[in-house]
């Protein structure tokens, strides 16, 4: 597994955990433990994305992206439902 794949995997895993904590907090809104975990994983995700972007450029293209260069990068494929999305992004 390349460094890029490793970091991507870590970010996906943290996104999964963050989403589950979000759902848990919806029905347990006073759980201090869940709120602490959410903060912890959010910081970890931020750190992982920073590491990724240091070496490989912008992590995920979003519509909020600041236009740079001569082409609107949002359109760059492959799109998520296409083969090799992970390899080429």
């Amino acid at each position: 597994m390349s460094r890029k794949e490793q970091l991507t995997k870590i970010i996906y895993e943290l996104d999964f955990a963050l989403h589950e904590l979000n759902l848990y907090l919806d029905t347990h809104p006073t759980s201090l433990k869940a709120m602490e975990l959410l903060k912890e994983y959010r910081n970890k995700r931020q750190a992982a994305v920073a590491l990724y972007e240091e070496r490989f450029g912008k992590y995920i293209s979003t519509i909020d992206e600041v236009p740079a260069g001569s082409c609107w990068k949002w359109l760059k494929g492959p799109w998520p439902w296409e083969n090799n999305f992970m390899e080429e992004n």
Binding site: T27, S61, T62, W74, W81, N84, F85
Partner: protein, 154 residues
């Protein structure tokens, strides 16, 4: 409102085509217990809910179902790309192909288009939450078809 994140919740990268499997998997998109119905169910029921906890979770899981729908559609799309005429006919995909070619259309495995009757939105918290529990229980029914078990399924 929603914002699109240009990624799948879990990556899908299918190497080998299989129009036969695509015809079964498509039910998880537009079938009676599919992700489209799930998303519509939660995102419509939330308006009449009296509690913030329920408004919050229906919004968040309704949103997540859209992400699931996107993954299932990605599977159908990747399983049906670059098909030859022989592959279309031999797999039985011809009955789908005649109407939709390789477009991804919300339907059940047996060809019934997605129907709004698959969901309920009754404006009653108990009726709606019971329907959500019933809907959730259906998700365990789809899995045995793809297991390696040799015993009769039912």
């Amino acid at each position: 409102m929603w914002k699109y994140e240009k990624k799948l919740q879990y990556p899908i990268n299918i190497k080998n085509i299989s129009p036969k499997n695509a015809q079964i998997i498509i039910s998880q998109f537009g079938g009676p217990d599919g992700e489209l119905g799930a998303a519509m169910r939660y995102l419509t029921q939330r308006y009449s809910q009296p509690f913030n906890e329920v408004k919050g979770i229906l919004t968040d899981i309704g949103t997540e179902e859209l992400a699931h729908m996107e993954m299932v559609c990605a599977m159908v799309h990747q399983l049906t790309r670059n098909l030859t005429e022989k592959e279309i006919k031999d797999s039985g995909f011809d009955k789908y192909f005649v109407d939709h070619t390789n477009g991804v259309f919300p339907q059940a495995a047996a060809g019934i288009p997605w129907r709004a009757e698959y969901i309920q939105s009754k404006g009653d918290i108990l009726a709606d939450l019971h329907e959500d529990l019933a809907a959730d229980a259906t998700t365990t029914k789809e899995q045995p078809l793809f297991s390696k078990a040799q015993k009769p399924l039912i």
